[in-house]
Symmetry: C2
Subunit: 432 residues, 2 copies
């Protein structure tokens, strides 16, 4: 009988595992995700900053896996897991649906976390999915519109103040894009305000931004951000977030837009497999990515805590780790099928990068370190190369070429959350 593989989560780990197992004899794959699309998360900040449309960085899971006859895609929310008595296999439960498995890959990712201050979220959205990206875009663009209309100087100042909390790659990319947008893209659009007066503050609790990069690149990134008008505040932790702004190290900053890029928490589905978890909710995995006591239950990507002994570190939650782990799990399942011995996962570290505004980046790969325009081009090539699906690659490239040449932002639309026109609690509104 065929080996039933269930994959929970169609992120970089899940999709790449499913592709590797696609059309293999003796393997049946079911991919369960609560969304219908795979998301190219490294470019999500571009959607938030109106540079790209959601469809440019997301592809329906069915489209990605449609050609594999042994792969079934199900849109459902997983809420349970039952092990067989042997402990070898089990059943994934999603509402009324049940998916029995002989091997399971859990790769449901992570979301942003507020370190116990979840009440801050309404005032400081994080950036992990398309809904959050369009919400951030709506807030940022609406702030400029509000500043243009108001005659109250205090309100205008608050509307033109943006705080980004967290100096990792996402925070740096958001702050850089905000700086660039206000200095260049929007500068000709308004009559009453000067978007160049926009204040962008990047707040990092640690001693420097981009702590996973070298001190030199981190300071280079700081300088590049400052050229875009971004103020970089390090060594200061945010102690309060509200509709008025933030409190940071005793100071109070009025800002109508606060963005959160400070922490992540692994998906709560990790609790279902029953293994040991770290403080960020990540499941501790063995060298073959399986969990203690369940050799056929694998966890990968942002949801897994993998110890790399030789480099004495925990692997970071980045796309390349998830991608390589997904393929590794598929290969392990295929090895089991042929009764070959399992091997240990080894991460091929190709390096890391972060982009700053429209044409600067920092990049480190082994001993190579790059910054400025060269790093930006490398960043561009790598991201286009990895964008899943030929069409998207081509379209994103064109969109960028266009944005680059014209300083325009193609997707600068404010779309509301509410779609209904008629509501009992308010009068009919003009559909201007």
């Amino acid at each position: 009988m065929a080996i039933r593989v269930v994959i929970v989560g169609a992120g970089f780990a899940g999709i790449n595992c499913a592709k590797r197992l696609g059309n293999r004899k003796g393997i049946d794959v079911t991919v369960v995700d609560r969304r219908n699309h795979h998301l190219f998360q490294p470019l999500l900040y571009q959607v938030a900053m109106a540079g790209l449309s959601p469809a440019d960085i997301a592809v329906p899971i069915r489209t990605l896996l449609g050609k594999y006859r042994n792969v079934r895609v199900v849109q459902a929310e997983v809420d349970g897991l039952e092990y067989d008595e042997s402990g070898q296999g089990g059943t994934v439960v999603a509402g009324a649906s049940r998916f029995p498995f002989d091997a399971l890959l859990l790769g449901a990712g992570a979301q942003h976390a507020y370190f116990g201050h979840e009440e801050w979220e309404p005032f400081a959205p994080g950036l992990k999915n398309l809904e959050q990206a369009t919400e951030i875009r709506r807030r940022v663009l609406s702030a400029f519109e509000r500043a243009e209309v108001t005659s109250d100087p205090d309100e205008r100042r608050a509307a033109l103040s943006f705080v980004v909390v967290g100096g990792g790659p996402t925070g740096v990319e958001l702050a850089g894009a905000l700086g660039e947008m206000s200095r260049f893209t929007l500068s000709r659009d308004f009559r009453s305000i000067d978007p160049k007066l926009t204040r962008v503050i990047l707040i990092e609790a640690g001693p420097r931004i981009l702590p996973s990069f070298s001190v030199e690149l981190s300071s280079r990134a700081t300088a590049d951000l400052e050229k875009l008008g971004v103020q970089v505040w390090t060594d200061r932790a945010v102690t309060q977030v509200s509709a008025e702004g933030v409190e940071v190290a005793g100071e109070r900053i009025r800002a109508s837009t606060v963005l959160w890029a400070a922490g992540v928490q692994a998906s709560s589905t990790g609790a279902l497999v029953g293994g040991q978890r770290d403080r960020a909710g990540r499941v501790l995995v063995k060298s073959d990515l399986s969990i203690e006591g369940h050799p056929n239950v694998f966890v990968a990507g942002d949801q897994a805590a993998f110890r790399e002994e030789e480099r004495d570190r925990w692997l970071p939650g980045v796309a390349t780790v998830a991608l390589q782990q997904g393929i590794f799990v598929a290969d392990t399942i295929l090895a089991d099928q042929r009764n070959r011995p399992r091997v240990a996962f080894r991460y091929w570290d190709k390096g890391q990068m972060a982009t700053i505004g429209r044409r600067r980046a920092v990049l480190s790969s082994g001993k190579l370190e790059l910054s400025g325009v060269m790093a930006w081009f490398a960043w561009l090539l790598v991201h286009i190369y990895y964008l899943t699906g030929f069409k998207n690659r081509l379209f994103v490239l064109m969109q960028w070429a266009y944005s680059y040449l014209t300083f325009a932002r193609g997707a600068r639309l404010i779309v509301q959350k509410e779609w209904r026109s008629y509501r009992s609690d308010r009068p009919a509104v003009p559909s201007s």
Copy 2:
């Protein structure tokens, strides 16, 4: 002193009026819209049917009008109008903001209407803005996902049943796209269901669909829809809409997706100018598009009721009427400025068209009538030509070329309405 022109609504009428007045000496223009984008409404159904992304058919108003130094753009919701004592000029009120005018153009468009059954809206969204388009897309794509997962045959049948209410161009375009999507685009995507079994019903209360076209074209459109598997029910009025489906002429149809394309109601801002209005809320305008007693207050587009005496008809609510009226109002304001006599508005009727699925359409222009592939190509050329802004034109053309060649739908994303991860009323959800 410069003539202060206020334009309420940046649809086809407002944008074209503003462009015509752009950079003219002695004219100051303020464009007020509650959204930040101009929408190419004739292609909105393509966004709803996942063929195009919102950004493909919408452009920020600031981008469209940025090059005119005498045009100011304000995002605000108009809620009042005060006339001067002379009755010549006045002030538009939008919250705390006030915009005095010497001449006013009201072009705030229309929304869909439920003929006194506004309680049907949650079960049967209409299609007038981007939010509604993405909501319809979410419902349509989610229905297929639900059908794939469920093991209950009744639920599956309901999920694969789509009802479109209203046989005008929008209803025909929605039904045709649903038929095509289920027959072609989705047919290879699912394992448990056969999308070809999808039931699409188009319900029209009158004796035939597309009543503004000739009987022959209307019957040709019916035949084309039937080839795509759409059932066309005429002479039947919908008497009830609920979460279960619709009741129509004594019959009860179970359908989890109902779309509304049956009626329009002009924007309620029409009441502010104080003129006479018809049953659909449209303001009755004189031959120069001004209203009785206020020669400098103009109403145009879907919001105006204009009587074309020679052809003995009221002008229809289509983009070309709005576009020509917007330009006409600008020319009238310029004529007034130079003390030249006003003329009467004459509509240059270029004809009408509706598309059916991926490569059929009906078109009538004067005595010319076309249907099938030729009409579809004509439709394509006209729509691409009129799409505002060079970039969009190019992108939409490419997107279509790609969809046409591959039968794929590029924007097939289900995006939720809710962006928050942490909510007090439910447990944290996996961000798979």
